[in-house]
């Protein structure tokens, strides 16, 4: 750490490595095109999108095109349990005799659907709440934020366990409970945005020209906080998938005969000392790559929406 002075780049706020040509002299490039270009400039982000897209497609198409038995325990008596990978079962079979590769796709359907739907619910509820809180301000804002503080003081996993053990464990309920309880942090971030933008000059100019509140939210506050909304939504999806896997480990995830990646990993890791690597590592790799790529897409989206990187 001696030659910091030579590293002047530190002082530059995250410049794009290569200057990206965003505008030409005679045409105005629409903003979404500029943003797409910044996003596409990020090679790792493209790789993440491709990987995630392939995984989603595979999870939903492969079980249709090449169905494997994943639910009927009676039919597995003909197969060898915990069988090593072979030509017939590419990734072997699990401790119930189900084909492991097919099961990764089958469990992925549940994990990914739940992640995306819960993430969507999260962002809709969180955005609405945060917008209202930040835009209305005053005592409403204080009360709404204190409520969030109260919720945030309970560790999330404790709350999930409590609610799930009290109510039922159906898939729809899991989606609802993760979706409707994960939005507190998001609402806070978006509230901060709304509060900031409400007090900026252009919003106040609109107010002074007699614009209605709804118009200001729609035309000014929402479009200008979209970067945080999109980023936060992406991270929420990753979080929902992770929390579902933690529930799966505790046996509270999606219940048999259906399965999800967390439950599968738990079943696999309980066999870890028998050396059945095919029940853990392929799935763990897919899982980690999916979550990493979702997070990475979130980072890249944040860059794409960063106004400083746009040239106008």
């Amino acid at each position: 750490m001696t030659d910091l002075t030579e590293r002047e780049r530190i002082a530059v706020p995250e410049p794009p490595d290569v200057p990206i040509k965003l505008t030409t002299d005679d045409e105005i490039v629409p903003m979404w095109k500029q943003r797409t270009r910044i996003f596409l400039h990020n090679k790792l982000a493209i790789a993440s999108v491709i990987f995630l897209g392939t995984t989603i497609l595979a999870c939903f198409l492969v079980p249709v095109l090449h169905p494997t038995n994943q639910t009927n325990q009676a039919l597995t008596f003909g197969t060898v349990w915990n069988a090593a990978p072979s030509w017939h079962h590419w990734l072997g079979t699990d401790s119930s005799g189900f084909d492991e590769l097919g099961r990764i796709f089958y469990g992925g359907e549940y994990s990914l659907t739940l992640g995306f739907v819960a993430g969507f619910i999260t962002i809709v509820v969180g955005t609405t709440y945060g917008m209202v809180s930040g835009f209305v301000g005053g005592i409403t804002d204080t009360v709404m934020m204190r409520i969030i503080d109260a919720f945030l003081s309970i560790p999330y996993i404790f709350l999930l366990i409590t609610l799930i053990s009290i109510f039922n464990r159906s898939t729809v309920f899991l989606i609802c409970i993760i979706g409707f309880t994960l939005w507190w942090g998001n609402a806070r971030i978006i509230r901060g945005d709304a509060l900031l933008i409400r007090n900026l000059e252009y919003s106040q100019a609109a107010t002074s020209m007699g614009a209605r509140k709804w118009h200001i939210i729609r035309r000014h506050v929402f479009p200008n906080s979209i970067s945080n909304i999109v980023t936060v939504a992406t991270f929420s999806v990753a979080d929902a998938i992770l929390f579902l896997s933690a529930l799966g480990f505790l046996g509270l995830g999606i219940q048999a005969p259906q399965t999800d990646w967390g439950t599968m990993l738990q079943a696999g890791t309980s066999q870890i000392q028998n050396g059945f690597w095919w029940e853990i590592y392929p799935l763990a790799l897919v899982f980690i790559l999916v979550v990493v790529s979702i997070n990475y897409i979130g980072d890249a989206l944040r860059d794409a929406f960063e106004v400083r990187l746009l040239e106008r």
Binding site: L152, S153, L159, I272
Partner: protein, 304 residues
């Protein structure tokens, strides 16, 4: 605060009867009815909520466990020291490791070291925590059997000093998870501070780079990090819950899981309430510490 425990409490009863998990599946309707009456299940939600709230707030009485022959407070006081040991030692190690790591990454931005640390943090962050624990167990207690796979099962808090080797793996797992999150924040915060005007001024007046980094940038980056540490307590205890379950570490987390799967509602509520109070304490401590490192906040406080 009231809301914190009112929500779960309102939803607790009636949907799936706790009576069956306590009395067993063979309980007759007569037994169930008697049990329900004993525990006030025949009263309305509001009456029960009022009773619970007054009992907790004015008598500091968390009620009796449905499942164990003990008061909820008895269970908590038995298990809470071990969980606090686990969480506190992990938090301390996380701070000791993550802050220098974050500064290193910020100072050596876009080098191999930075990329490696970021990559490892990304993977750790994306991994389900129980998978990490299982891999640690597999490596250090099965393939190279140097460490025991779970700490001594007694509930004495001082077991950490009498047989520390059992605690290495749980603490290490919790620390790794914490470092993954905190070092990224530290890196981001230091980078943000590095572009501020006062850092440029420090450089311009001829400050050595080391002095700039530690005297000017680091001290100003500490504020957000302290707030984050205070806010990370729920995540820490949530992580402890999973880790306790994997390592069979007799603490609050494993007790919560046990109580929740048995619908032992008073215990779950009591533990949740305690954890919420711990979180608030953490935030309070963070605020005080913030005042210590940031003179501006102290002066504002005195001026009022």
């Amino acid at each position: 605060m009231l809301l914190t425990f009112s929500l779960p409490y309102f939803q607790t009863h009636g949907i799936r009867a706790p009576a069956f998990t306590v009395l067993g599946t063979k309980a007759t309707p007569y037994n169930v009815a008697i049990w329900a009456k004993q525990h006030g299940m025949d009263q309305s939600y509001f009456v029960r909520f009022w009773q619970y709230a007054t009992q907790v707030l004015f008598h500091f009485n968390l009620g009796r466990s449905y499942k164990e022959n003990s008061s909820v407070w008895g269970i908590i006081s038995l298990y809470v020291p071990r969980t606090i040991w686990l969480a506190a030692s992990a938090l301390m190690l996380t701070t000791i490791i993550a802050i220098p790591l974050g500064i290193y990454q910020a100072a050596r931005r876009n080098t191999v070291g930075d990329y490696t640390a970021t990559g490892v943090a990304f993977v750790l962050y994306a991994m389900p925590s129980f998978l990490l624990c299982m891999l640690l167990l597999d490596a250090f207690s099965f393939h190279w059997p140097h460490l025991p796979n779970s700490p001594p099962s007694g509930v004495q808090a001082w077991a950490m000093f009498t047989s520390p080797e059992g605690f290495i793996l749980p603490v290490a797992a919790l620390t790794m998870l914490g470092v993954a999150g905190l070092s990224r924040y530290m890196r981001g915060t230091v980078l943000e501070v590095m572009v501020q005007d006062y850092v440029r001024t420090a450089k311009a007046k001829g400050c050595s780079s080391r002095r700039t980094l530690f005297k000017h940038a680091f001290r100003n980056a500490l504020g957000p990090i302290i707030v984050l540490l205070g806010l990370s307590i729920p995540a820490l205890l949530g992580g402890a819950l999973i880790i306790e379950s994997v390592f069979n570490y007799a603490g609050l987390g494993i007790q919560t899981v046990f109580a929740a799967t048995n619908l032992d509602v008073p215990t779950v509520l009591g533990i949740t309430l305690l954890v919420a109070i711990l979180t608030l304490l953490g935030n309070l401590l963070a605020d005080i510490a913030l005042g210590l490192v940031n003179p501006r906040i102290r002066i504002e406080g005195n001026a009022k």
